[in-house]
Symmetry: C2
Subunit: 225 residues, 2 copies
DNA sequence: TCCATTACCTACTCGCGAGTAAGACTACTC
DNA sequence: GAGTAGTCTTACTCGCGAGTAGGTAATGGA
């Protein structure tokens, strides 16, 4: 079944693809990861087709397998890279010498700004990653733990005394979880109300949480009945 | 290719399946939906195989298609049913004549209790449903809007005057989103720390949110610098 | 200039799972 | 007990998408 693809007989046809050719591996890997994050964010893990990723990355499918391995490994690589970027953004914005409320304020602002400027990245971390099964659970709980730890540490710096910091660190966990979740939901809400700024959002969350938090630290409690 | 399933020659073999047979449609539909919620919660929409659902429901696959339609329609039916159950649980626990803090307290407790007692249902609503594309977006945003509205209304009852309720209702939205998200995240945290009770969780969230909320209503604000 | 290496591609295979065809069994009604 | 309406099953088809076989072309060193 001799086909017509013999270079001598039909070589010069589609000069239509000036696809940048022969780039070093590093660059290609970045392109692939960028594309994968976009596509995973749009469709979720299972709906995302490797063919689409290869199109967006402007490279052919086997290259993806050669460089990043299976679809699963590719997804894990995405999560890992984006989680690092986000956590670095936040912890880079927080200066441990500042007063605690200022720290929290800056952390929140960095978070909202990241979510705004890296929508796809945030979607993958928030919506897509947490949905999938065991293969990604490890990666996910690792990143979630890091995020929670960042916030918990931040919160437990909020009040003076030093010695029982470890205990307080424990007690802070549910509050940290609540704060993180509140931020995540506000981002969802933000997407439908983009007229607000990152500053305004952070301010609102500070007002809601920090004030109540301050009350608690001072021993004021709400009780039923 | 005469096979061996001629009733006259090989009829009485596997009496091993006392699968309840010939039940009314209503009952079957409930079984199917129950099974589907379980399986969707475990694997997510795309990983869930209709074959597995049919096994769990103890019925054959074509029946699912006959009664509930395509996989997509089945998923929508699950979301709709479970969303109704949850919202009814919450609004059933809230009595509009109670003081606002008591209302919020009861609503939160009802929410945490529902999440605890209907883990699969909650997982489908929280994790799986929000992940998928356009087909479910309508259903999802409808249920999310209802939930947000419930909370927003509850919050905007918190402060006295009547006339500007509509305006306040608007302004409350991001706070309601934050509160809902905080609750969702606390449930996630709860799953890994099941030694706590629904009461304790609700109390913590009340303390965090209600106190700060009270401060805000009274005009106290947090400001940077 | 020839060889080795690495980047890169087209065109496949192959399994899995959504959806269906075709009919069997049961329980009513008259 | 014959007809009919609704329940229920086995055993398929068929497309989609993950992963691959096998080859081409550019680069760099001898």
């Amino acid at each position: 079944m001799q086909d017509a693809r013999d270079p001598r007989t039909e070589s010069p046809p589609n000069r239509s693809k000036p696809r940048s050719r022969r780039l070093p591996r590093e660059v290609r890997e970045r392109q692939i990861l960028d594309a994968a994050v976009q596509v995973f964010a749009r469709h979720g893990y299972h709906e995302a087709a490797m063919d689409e990723i290869s199109e967006v990355a402007e490279i052919s499918k086997p290259m993806i397998y050669a460089y990043l391995g299976s679809k699963e490994e590719l997804f894990v690589a995405c999560i890992r890279r984006e989680a690092n970027r986000l956590i670095e953004s936040i912890s880079g914005a927080v200066d441990a010498d500042l007063p605690p409320d200022e720290q929290l304020w800056r952390g929140l602002r960095a978070f909202f700004e990241y979510a705004q400027q890296n929508r796809a990245s945030w979607t993958v971390l928030h919506r897509q990653a947490s949905t999938q099964g065991p293969p990604f659970a490890a990666e996910l709980s690792a990143w979630r733990r890091r995020a929670l730890d960042l916030v918990t540490t931040l919160l437990s710096r909020a009040d003076g005394t030093e010695e029982d910091r470890q205990v307080r660190h424990e007690q802070m966990q549910p509050f940290a979880a609540a704060l993180v979740g509140a931020g995540e939901s506000m981002v969802d809400w933000w997407i439908e109300h983009p007229e607000h700024t990152a500053d305004a959002l952070s301010m609102r969350l500070m007002n809601l949480v920090w004030m109540g938090f301050g009350d608690m630290v001072q021993g004021r409690r709400w009780k039923p009945d």
